[in-house]
């Protein structure tokens, strides 16, 4: 149902750096309504991966 999205999430989930071009190419395969949400979440995720949350 959402196979392309799931494949991309798995590809990007553990990256600490995500380039604009890389995301644009990836997002081009998705429905336009999904692309914007995917892109936003991947930037957030890269930020988190780059600055891991310190659990106390």
């Amino acid at each position: 149902m959402n196979e392309k999205l799931w494949a991309l999430v798995q590809e990007f989930v553990n990256k600490s750096q995500v380039g604009n071009a890389e995301l644009a190419v990836a997002g081009a395969n998705l429905d336009p309504d999904v692309t914007s949400v995917f892109t936003k979440h991947m930037y957030e995720l890269a930020e988190t991966n780059n600055h891991p949350i310190q659990w106390v």
Partner: protein, 326 residues
Amino acid sequence: MGLSKMSDSDREYNRDKIKTFLKEYLSEAKTNNKTQVLITSLLHLKGKIFNVKSSFTWAEFYYCTASLFGSTDKHNESKIACSAAIELLVLATDILDDLADQDFNGEILTKLSVPQAVSLSSLLLMEGLHIITLHKNSHLLINVIEQLREAAQGQTKDLSFCISRNHLPTEKEYFAQISRKSVSLTRLVFHLNASSEELPFWNNVADCIGFSGQISNDARDLFDDTKNDLIDKKATLPLIKAIEAGQSKNDDWLLKILTTKNLRENRDLLPAIRAYVQKTGAIKYCEILTEVYLNKAIKLLKKKQEASSNKIQYTNLIRFLGDDDH
């Protein structure tokens, strides 16, 4: 569900009208004082209408939805009553859900004994239906029964909708299951108001809102120690996707744990399972789908709004669902 963005004063006013109706109805209903106290206490729980911190309540969701379909005095009276009825019906299903999941550490079953929970859920269901019979035509009541029947059948199927050695549920099966078990309640809200000609469109809106809410709940509950979805190995979307991710890398750690360990007796495994699910991207996938489905619902509503004379009411529902642009 999303945070409400309706104006605070409008929201308070509508909420107060529904609360007043419920208080009066409960005090006049043929129930004893102890039962009234219990129901009132349940209506103060997280996400319920008497709780001032609740951002999404089913009563207000009904009120905003019904407002799209008319605004005569008679309609307004029915809107308040049916908003209260929906709050009671959903509370009844919440109790049944917690009983079925044996969530004895959850908010509801820490307040009620099992016999109280069983009798209260039955009472709330009947009172909710009774209010609807007083304010809606019988053909609309049939729609309500049909959606409640779907929810009951989905709830029964849910008992065995788990990860097991014999069957690994798929994403497609998950969507079919939540469509019956919980999205049916979202459809119920629209079925009480829309004409039969327009039901296909409203079913689409209801499905998007319902899918968004249920996926979000399932992702959140996986990390909640008072919920038993994980220890009961319920086939929720994050677990289904995490197992899929493992299998695609020839890593069957999660599947092995879920099919060989009793998690009620091995709760020490829960943090590792949660970390594994998170690392596969399954939670992020759920978060994205939650937003995508909500956006889809809002897009459909905005398109319908263009041709409607009830533009403000559409804006109110869209804001209630959590769209920042309105």
